[in-house]
Symmetry: C2
Subunit: 344 residues, 2 copies
């Protein structure tokens, strides 16, 4: 089926294509008679013509598109939503953008690709990047000349706006809670610990809490893999192989906890009877789990809303002003932790 | 005589072939100096170069954007990923599109909005629509003049390509499985049953299986709400209030099952001891659940891949050719069903 073009409208109205363009863009310099203007509008309505925004964005400079990049930490990995955190975050970003008349240009492009092309070719009004992202690619993105908001990244660069949470403090809170419940041997289970990422901060918070309580950080209590259900299953096997030495675990993502609990159950290890778990994120899964997960709650919906708001504010601002936004955390008590008394 | 190629023009003008291409296609993102542009045009005129229209239509008339609409069945509802089915489907769509050099223009726009604007404004190469969608809006979308693929819709219209599963047969399979396990009173729990949607087909399959076994369809055994975890919780309460009359349930989505199992557990009703459950979808949650869900498996990854492939094939095709694609289903046995013997 043929798309209605500006030429069709021009033909219908008996005017030139540029006259149609002048009318539609309210170009002030051109004197168009009221009668011609009406004829053009009538033709537009009759043909149900919708201007091509890609062409229009050349003049108005606004594409009403926000680029959203959820880079795959593992190249070639297909499912960006194997962690429901991303789905919840994207929902909130999409909803907020839509309420503001913006649409999302979504990409889960891998580390080895350069996003600059995407951003420049599509003329996005701003970019939201979720998670860690290679430094050289970030620098290349600056050339797109649009506001960039980094979500959950510890890259410090005044050119980027950031939105995140106090990962270190959240981890400290989780670990301290387990210590208060009487646990002395606490595992740390997380995705890969990388520079500028959230897990290194969470690891620091875990270590701080142990040290504050006079407890040693033991290497054999640290499990680091990938942020998914499968790694949780694998960590449970590893935990059993290593001799079940800890009575509690701080797990840095609910989705890992889900797998960990399942893997433990399969080996006859009970939660919280044999091992207590405090998790992180509070995705909707946390409450669905059996037992339901005690977890550090972060406001994922607010994270998405703020990310869009930051992009839109920055796009409208006359001057670049660096913004850093940190959202609060709190612990939600559910059924995955029990008090522990060391045998005397 | 040799046909004049773009390379000949480039040589004549002393520029690269891509520069010629940019000039001829008026590519908006590339900054070509006025002087270069004039040189290219002069070379084109001198050599009487005629662009290959077939080649052009492949490169220049493509935006490399695919519109993906996941309409909210409930207007104003924020989280389109409260059902992990959508996250898994979108992951597969995004991955397949990316492998083909396409990006996604994502929208979760509500029923009362018209998507025509989006599609025409952005010049997408095709549109994938997930789920049911109001007929008048679908008709409006035809005017965008690009291929449209409907996923999980029973709208019959040769202008749309469709991809789906045999919902009725899948439901029959699930219900028959419960009957074979000895169950005679089987509940049907689903989202809203609407015309052209999947749930009406699943309801028909459920009824067919009962009738084939000489069993009556009872109105009090039918639970219809929304496709989310919360409705599963609510259905469990309702099930208890209605007197726990069924020994089994066919639940049309894993995400509802998750809530249903949780709600039952909270009331001391055991799965599968007191009630058996066969679910639908086999999202990754199904295996995470406790007990893990016996469910009708559909290949969500393949659904997403096929949807993108259909769009791209149709975009390249010279003539519109209606395609209907139906993916197979099978039952995955896990831990949520037990044999039932009626007390004699």
């Amino acid at each position: 089926m043929k798309r209605i073009s500006i030429k069709d409208v021009a033909k219908e109205a008996g005017v030139s294509a540029s006259t149609v363009s002048y009318v539609l863009n309210d170009t002030p310099t051109e004197s168009i008679s009221e009668e011609t203007r009406k004829r053009v509008i009538a033709a537009v309505q009759k043909l149900e013509y919708v201007p091509n925004l890609n062409a229009r964005s050349l003049s108005s400079r606004h594409s009403n598109l926000i680029g959203v990049l959820i880079p795959q930490t593992e190249p070639g990995k297909e499912f960006m939503f194997s962690n429901p955190f991303y789905g919840e975050l994207l929902s909130s970003i999409e909803y907020t953008a839509r309420q503001n008349g913006y649409h999302l240009l979504l990409s889960g492009t891998q580390e080895d690709q350069c996003y600059l092309n995407i951003a420049q070719n599509r003329g996005v009004d701003g970019i939201i990047i979720v998670g860690t992202y290679p430094g050289e690619n970030l620098n290349a993105l600056k050339r797109a000349g649009v506001p960039i908001v980094l979500v959950d990244s510890y890259v410090k660069d005044p050119d980027f706006h950031t939105i995140g949470i106090e990962d270190k403090e959240g981890a400290r809170m989780a670990t301290r809670y387990l210590i208060e419940k009487g646990h002395r041997r606490i595992a740390f289970i997380s995705g890969s610990i990388r520079e500028y990422g959230v897990n290194i901060k969470r690891y620091q918070g875990y270590c701080d809490a142990l040290k504050e309580a006079g407890l040693a950080v033991e290497e054999s209590a640290v499990y680091s893999g990938t942020v998914d259900y499968e790694y949780g299953l694998a960590a449970a096997v590893l935990y059993a192989e290593r001799g079940r030495k800890q009575t509690a675990a701080f797990v840095t993502a609910d989705v890992i906890s889900m797998g960990f609990v399942k893997g433990l159950t399969q080996q006859g290890i009970g939660v919280p009877d044999d091992i207590s778990i405090v998790s992180f994120d509070d995705v909707y899964l946390a409450n669905m789990a059996y037992p339901s997960l005690t977890t550090v709650h972060q406001d994922i919906g607010e994270k998405g809303r703020k990310a869009v708001e930051l992009v839109l504010e920055a796009a409208k601002a006359k001057e670049h002003q660096h913004t850093e936004c940190i959202l609060p955390l709190h612990l939600v008590e559910r059924d995955s932790v029990r008090e522990w008394r060391e045998p005397t």
